[in-house]
Each structure stands twice: as C-alpha cells, then as structure tokens.
C-alpha cells in the first residue's frame, strides 16, 4: 500500500521539525518523539490479529471511562445533570472543567464499572434523553464560549421500546446537527467503543481523534457477522473485513490523529492514559485557537462533507 496522505503530511512535518534549531526545548523534542512514534505505528498496516486485539482492548473491563478521564484531566471538574425534559441519562456524562487552564464543556458516554453501575448507566448505551442532555451541553458551551471535548465510548444507542418511543433516531440526528452549528472549537476522541450512530452523535467535531486501541465502526463485529455471514461467531472475520481500528480510520481520513496509549493498553495505567489523552486534546485545542467561530463551523462541515469514496 502506498503511503497515505496523512503519513506524507506527518513525514513532512517531522522533517521540518528535525531541521529546526531546538529552541522550543522540551516541548519541541516531545513533539518530535510523539510524531516519530505515531509514524511508526501508522507505517505498518495492522494485521487481522491486531485489529481483533483492538476490539478486545476497546471493550476491556478495566479500560478507563469518561469519568476516569474527567477526574484526572480536568481541574474544578463539575458534573452537570439532566436533559431538562424527562431524565438524567447515566450513560451520558456532561460537565464543566478546566483543561490546562481553559474551561471546556465535556460530553461523553459512560459505562459502568460494576454490575450495579452498568445497569444504572445502561452499559453506556444512551436513551434519546442522553442525546438531549448532550445537546443541552453543546448549547451551553456555545453560550459560555467554551470549547467542547467529547469522549466517545458506547456500543451503540440503547435499543429499547421506550428509547424508540422517545425518538432515538431523531435525537441522534439533532445531536449531530447541534454540533454542526457550534461556533466554538470542538474535539472528539473515541476512547473505547465508537459504536455506530450512537457514537457519531457526539463526534461531529473539528478534530476527531482515536485512542490507539479504540474502535470506531458502523456496526459491531458480531452484528456484521450475524448479518453478512449469518453467524455471529465470525466476528473476528467481520472485524478484519470492515476494519474498525484506529489506523484504518486514519487511513480513510475519518479521524485526524491517533492518541497513544500506555504499553499494553489504556487499562494498564489509567494515569498515563489520561496524561497522553490530555496532551492530545490540548494540542488539538491549541490548533483551533484563534480561528473565528464561523470559519470553524465552515471547515467542520466541509471536513465531514468530504468523507466518502465514489467515482
């Protein structure tokens, strides 16, 4: 496979950095190192086994969740609650906090750690109420002029009778529309499972990142296998076919960058995973600093409108 555009951009940036006198000191040399690492990762096409390992790590029971990151990354973290209509959906977390001195509005799906919390949070699958809660947070961010940080981690939107009656499809559509209207900087990162419409509902951002072992997909491997191979057991084969891993998403232009995880995966060291995530989020926000709101919105829409392959 020829080097992707992204890889070419990275290589160019890398050589530019290398030829600069290292006045920036630590920051710049950190940047160098980071790019080098990222490049090495991208250079190699992941094998089917590596893809499947990502699927497993993305779902790992000890993987850090949105609130684990909020507590570690955000000073003065203050969780907000409720959709102002019907419920406070535990599968969707919103709140305010300071990321490196800058107040941001956080939106993220939230799984549970033990069985009780999992039930309360519907295994990270939001109801329409959850997406309305997210919309409220987007509108708050616009009013307060804070950037939005969105952490994606859901198997999908909740599939139930009440969820359908309360308008699951419309809520997901309107959550995306709310993001498409924002004039504040927005960064999304898939930190675990990016499952279909329920995930993209909060990922229509200026910068979309994925953690190294996160997955982002139109359907779960099991669902895909059940439909196309008529056998949910063929999940590994399905995953290899539709390639939900970060490197392929980057290749396809769906995401803008990969956030490194600690060796062995984010679950092995929550603090280090948070540190690495925080670095990437701050860097992404720094890049968006100073861009006028209308221009941010125009570019954001143009970015998503460019996605797709046809002839």
């Amino acid at each position: 496979m020829p080097p992707s555009e992204h890889e070419l951009r990275l290589r160019e940036r890398l050589s530019r950095l290398k030829s600069l006198p290292l006045l920036g000191g630590a920051k710049l040399s950190g940047e160098l190192e980071r790019l080098q690492r990222q490049l090495e990762r991208i250079a190699a096409e992941p094998t089917d086994e590596e893809i499947w390992r990502s699927v497993q790590l993305a779902r790992h029971e000890q993987r850090p969740y949105t609130l684990d990151y909020a507590e570690r990354l955000l000073d003065d973290w203050f969780e907000l609650h409720g959709d102002r209509g019907l419920a406070d959906d535990g599968a969707m977390v919103i709140g305010l906090g300071k990321l490196g001195g800058r107040t941001v509005t956080l939106v993220g799906q939230q799984k549970g750690r033990d069985i009780q919390e999992r039930t309360r949070r519907q295994f990270g699958m939001p109801y329409p109420e959850g997406y309305r809660k997210a919309i409220r947070a987007f509108e708050l961010a616009e009013r307060l002029r804070t950037p939005v940080v969105s952490l994606v981690d859901t198997p999908g939107a909740y599939p139930g009778v009440a969820a359908e009656q309360h308008g699951q499809g419309g809520a997901i559509a309107r959550s995306q529309a709310a993001m498409a209207r924002l004039t504040v900087p927005t960064v999304a990162c898939v930190i675990g499972e990016g499952g279909s419409g329920g995930a993209v509902a909060i990922a229509l951002a200026d910068r979309v990142l994925m953690q190294e072992n996160a997955i982002y997909s139109v359907i779960s491997p099991e669902g895909c296998a059940a439909i196309l191979w008529r056998d949910a057991g063929q999940a590994q084969k399905a995953a290899a076919a539709f390639k939900p891993d970060a490197r392929h998403c980057l290749e396809l232009g769906v995401i803008d960058g990969i956030v490194p995880e600690p060796e062995g995966g984010a679950h092995t060291d929550h603090d280090e995973a948070a540190r690495l995530l925080g670095e990437s989020l701050r860097e992404a926000l720094d890049e968006l600093d100073g861009v006028p709101g209308e221009e941010l919105r125009r570019r954001r829409r143009a970015r998503f409108r460019s996605l797709g392959v046809y002839a």
Binding site: K111, R118, F123, G124, M125, P155, G156, A157, P159, G160, V161, A163, E164, Q165, G167, Q168, G169, G170, I172, A173, Q176, A177, A180, R181, G195, S196, G197, G198, V200, A201, A203, L204, Y216, S217, V218, I219, S220, E222, G223, C224, A226, I227, L228, W229, A241, F242, K243, P244, C249, L252, V254, R300, R301, F304, R305, L307, G308, V309, Y310, A311
Partner: protein
C-alpha cells in the same frame, strides 16, 4: 447486552417477500402490474402501501417532463476491498443490473404543480436502500442544488440503514448529510421529508429526521432499531404498532401521515406555503 449492536436493521428488512411482489402481504389480494400502477401501488382492498421504485415515485410527483436528473453517474467504490460471502463489487454490480440504478438514491430538479423543487428519492430495491458514500454524496448535492436554486428540497426516504460494506465511511454519511442539511438551512431553504417503509437506522438518525416538515406513509416502519433487534436485545414485549408511522405520530415524531394518493396535493400545498413572499 452491551455487546449487541443495535443500529443496523438490514437484517430485519424487508419482511420476507410474499409469494409474488404483486400480492398484498396484508390481505393477500393480487393485482396485475397495470392495476398496481394505476392505484399508485396501494392495495385497493386494504390500503396497504406497496414499496415504490424511485423512478415511479418521481413520475408521480414531478410534473411530466420536468425532472432533470443530477449526478446520475456517481458509483460506489470499494474502499475496504470488502468481501463477505461475496465481494461488495459483485453485490453492487448485481444491484445495478437488477434496478437500473447506479445506487440507492435518485436526485434532480423538478417542478410540482409548476413550482420549482429539488427531489431526492431513495430506492429500497438497491441493496435495501442502504446509505453508503454515493447516497450521502448525492443527498448532499441535492441540498446544495436546492440551496443554489433557492428552492425547497423534498426527500423521500426508504432505507434499512448504513451500507456496512463501506465500513466506517458508511457511518460518516450520517454527519455528512447532517452537515449538508445544516448548510441548506443556513441558505434559508426548507426540507420536506417523506418517510416510506422502511426508514430506519442511519438514515433516520441523520438527514431524514432534520426535515422542517416530516411526513410518512401509512404503516411505514420508522425506527432507529427495528422490532427484531429490540426484541432480541431487551426481551421486552413490543406494542402492536411498535415503530410504525402511527406510533411515531402519537409520540410526537411526525407532522402527518399522508396516504399516497394525497401525497402530491399535500406536497403541492407545502410548496405553496414555502414559496410565499415573506
């Protein structure tokens, strides 16, 4: 429970085909082709709305001779080299052969009772109306064409969801079409959506729900997650009209259910309303 994907309903849809496509699945009345065409593919006995092909729909809505198709030659690529039981390219070729369409949507300019409009009509016969790169791109171009010409967009939906053979790129058609509709709205133009059976998953969770006016055909399944997956996942007992247009209207998600013979006059009225000098 957390491991079951819920957003794609392709497997559920369509319902197992009746013995013959001209046999009403509801009351089993049988019709000749010309009878069905004359009745707008509505069962004269029980009112069941048969699926309607995109070109037939356009012929019913556009003034004769007014339709000018756009982007007719856009074809899907195969970005993932996707291969399940058969290669995606083979499925595409077969769908094109059997439907005469390049993909699951037809877009273009038209007039309706003399009023300019843009039409975007999906066709379930092409791979279950699934939304891949071409559907997303053509819907977006329809938005742009409507915006540039200063006319409303009428979108007729029929879809089982995203086209999973295009992997994550099919999911990206959700935010893509959402952005296109927002651009249309910012240009001051309206979108009327007509949801026909079935309108589910990715299409419902993106542009279809963003219409300024949301109409549906009677009995259409309109659900993010279809009944079979809901049942399998939650073991809940489903209401009789679960996910049907009628339930959606009751729960506030639709503006009106419009039987097919009334659709053209209804759209004509809405175009008059949207056309008025402000």
């Amino acid at each position: 429970m957390a491991k079951i994907d819920v957003s794609i309903e392709t497997n559920d849809l369509p319902a197992p085909p009746p013995k013959h496509p001209n046999t009403c699945p509801s009351c089993h009345s049988h019709y000749r082709d010309d009878e069905l065409e004359r009745s707008l593919w509505v069962c004269g006995h029980c009112g069941h709305h048969f699926a309607m092909r995109a070109r037939d729909r356009i012929a019913c809505l556009a003034d004769p001779g007014s339709f000018v198709e756009e982007a007719a030659d856009l074809h899907s690529e195969d970005p993932l080299g996707f291969f399940d039981l058969r290669p995606y390219t083979e499925r595409l070729a077969e769908a094109e052969m059997s439907t005469g369409l390049a993909d699951a949507i037809v877009i273009g300019q038209a007039t309706l009772d003399g009023r300019q409009t843009e039409l975007a009509v999906m066709d379930f016969a092409f791979m279950g109306g699934s939304m891949g790169s071409v559907v997303g791109e053509k819907l977006s171009r329809a938005c742009d064409s409507a915006a540039e010409r200063g006319v409303p967009l009428i979108a007729v939906t029929s879809s089982g969801g995203a086209r999973m053979q295009e992997g994550i790129l099919s999911l990206m058609q959700l935010p893509k079409t959402v952005c296109a509709v927002e651009d249309l709205h910012d240009a001051g133009q309206a979108m009327i959506v007509v949801m026909t059976h079935p309108t589910t998953a990715g299409v419902l969770a993106s542009f279809a729900s963003l219409g300024d006016v949301l109409l549906a055909e009677p009995g259409a399944l309109i659900a993010f997650t279809g009944p079979r997956v809901v049942q399998q996942t939650t073991r809940e007992k489903l209401p009789d009209d679960f996910g049907l247009a009628e339930q959606n209207l009751r729960f506030g998600h639709l503006d009106a259910i419009v039987p097919r013979p009334e659709l053209r006059p209804t759209l004509s009225r809405l175009l008059r309303l949207l056309d008025a000098p402000q």
